[in-house]
């Protein structure tokens, strides 16, 4: 689905969401109240200006104190890779955006990620992965790094990696593997109302971070939940 189609399905009565320089922001009427929307469109890399602008929108929503949910729609590239972004402290700008989303969620604004295209690496962590619940649309392609780059770093032949990717969800790019890892909670049906499906996700939000449990259930992260529990148990012991 394109962003326009997504917005039409979320807001059948119209909306005030706009895209400028690949950054998405605005709001629309939703479930008797409103839904804030921020995001990245068009496979745009996320750099310092973009991260700061999106964080500003999130903080505006928190300041408004209306407890409206915030949707983070993502079709981005990775973080913008440049000398200037790193010189100016890209890690702080991306962390600032993630913290704004985490604060919003704590402040009563349910945060929902919706990945409908690509996203990777630091941009994925600062946006979609910083939400309380992350949904995807079929065709979405989240990744940490593409296989040719993985081949370069791991010094394994691309053919070998491609073959391994078929049976090993833990390292391979793609939506199914991120679902298996528990990073993506649910895949939505583009043929049905997104307003209803996103509304149901918000209504069903659970406390805590369920991603490692989901990863164990789905087999993409077989040991993470158990390891985290074991460490916490030891820490609680005398």
């Amino acid at each position: 689905m394109t962003l326009a189609e997504i917005l039409a399905s979320l807001f059948p009565g119209g909306h005030a969401v706009t895209v400028a320089d690949g950054l998405v922001s605005g709001e629309g009427p939703f479930a008797g109240g409103r839904l804030h929307v921020i995001g990245v469109d068009g496979d745009t890399p996320l750099g310092i200006e973009g991260a700061l602008a999106l964080a500003g929108r999130v903080l505006d929503a928190v300041r408004a104190c209306d407890r409206s949910p915030i949707l983070v729609a993502v079709d981005s590239d990775s973080q913008r890779m440049s000398r200037r972004d790193e010189l100016l402290g890209l890690n702080e700008y991306l962390a600032h955006l993630a913290k704004a989303l985490l604060l919003a969620d704590r402040s009563g604004h349910p945060t929902v990620g919706l990945i409908y295209g690509h996203s990777a690496a630091g941009a994925f962590i600062a946006t979609a992965l910083a939400t309380r619940v992350l949904a995807a649309l079929p065709g979405a392609n989240p990744s940490v790094m593409d296989l040719p780059s993985v081949a370069r770093v791991t010094k394994l032949p691309l053919d070998t990696l491609t073959e391994m990717a078929r049976s090993t969800p833990v390292f391979a790019p793609g939506l199914d593997n991120m679902v298996a890892a528990g990073a993506v909670h649910a895949v939505l049906d583009p043929g049905k109302s997104l307003a209803e499906q996103v509304g149901a996700l918000i209504a069903g939000l659970a406390d805590g971070d369920a991603r490692d449990r989901l990863g164990a259930e789905r087999g993409g992260r077989p040991v993470a939940a158990e390891i985290a529990d074991r460490v916490a148990e030891r820490a609680r012991g005398a």
Partner: protein, 303 residues
């Protein structure tokens, strides 16, 4: 044998040596230590050697008699990268901190970011870690990052660092998202020449981060210096709330406005009011601290 904290180089020390020497002598107790052999279930697929602790040491100890939880990454194992077990140990430690309420959680970063052989598990663990840090901080427990290892704090490690309450860095502690090699591979050597080590240090190194407010303390390369910094920083951790994030927003916006057109760190330092920017890389910790004291903006509560 007692460890000489002054003589032990943070950069050269192993994760376990750092933890032992950083905390009160003999106070460290490890959780899920190497004797339990909780290794990566995935590395054998790649015919890669495993570590009994998956490259991270987690446990409890005391700092000045006060209870702390601590995690230390081992940069010499797979670049300290986040794999499934590695990440889960940090996440479990942070989750426990919400209940135990220690005086602080100390994270000794030494990481290149996500371990690509376990990329999806590592990436998700980084997101879980950031959420857990936000929760721990909101509960009033400071999370202090110490960065001075050979792998720095790159990739998702840089984002986690940016989520901490306070950061101490040494000269060797680089903080960045995209590493020099990654930028060069993707954008070319004209954009970033990764073999130019001086360029790497002044763009991503501890001095630049400290001068521009990206870190809150600068340490000489010894465990005692990091211990002193951790003790001082625990006492002045900012809250995790709207006021702090609004202040951070203003701070990052100002940085962009003031330095957005700079090409090199030396231009940033000159504009900050550093008299002789070219002399910064060679300064010892004392001279550098005096330089930091002379510029505005390095000290703040906006993180």
């Amino acid at each position: 044998m007692a460890i000489d904290r002054d003589a032990l180089s943070w950069y050269e020390a192993s994760a376990r040596q750092r933890v032992d020497a950083l905390l009160d002598t003999g106070s460290f107790a490890e959780f899920l230590g190497p004797e339990e052999r909780r290794m990566s279930p995935h590395l054998p697929l790649f015919d890669l050697p495993r570590a009994f602790d998956d490259g991270v040491v987690v446990g409890r100890g005391r700092l000045d008699g006060r209870p702390v939880l601590v995690a230390a990454q081992e940069g010499r194992f797979m670049g300290g990268a986040f794999g499934e077990v590695h990440g889960a140990k940090l996440v479990g430690l942070l989750r426990a901190a919400r209940e135990i309420k220690p005086a602080a959680v100390l994270i000794l970063f030494d990481t290149g970011g996500v371990r690509l052989q376990e990329a999806n598990a590592g990436e998700t663990a980084i997101a879980e870690t950031m959420r857990a840090i936000a929760e721990v901080r909101a509960d009033g427990v400071p999370v202090i990052g110490l960065i001075g290892g050979r792998a720095g704090a790159y990739g998702g490690g840089g984002l986690i660092a940016g989520t901490c309450s306070r950061l101490a860095v040494s000269e060797g502690g680089r903080i960045s998202v995209s590493g020099p090699e990654v930028i060069e591979t993707n954008k070319g050597a004209e954009e970033f020449d990764s073999r130019d080590r001086a360029l790497v240090w002044r763009t991503m190194g501890g001095k630049h981060r400290r001068l521009t407010g990206g870190a809150d303390a600068f340490c000489a390369d010894s465990v005692s210096a990091f211990r002193e910094a951790a003790r001082a920083l625990i006492g002045r951790a900012p809250a995790f709330d709207l006021a702090t994030l609004e202040a951070e927003h203003a701070r990052l916006r100002n940085r962009l406005e003031e330095f957005g057109d700079c090409r090199d760190a030396t231009e940033v330092w000159a504009r900050l009011g550093v008299n002789d920017p070219d002399a910064v890389p060679a300064m010892d910790a004392r001279a550098f601290d005096e330089t930091v004291a002379g510029v505005g903006g390095a000290n703040h509560d906006a993180r």
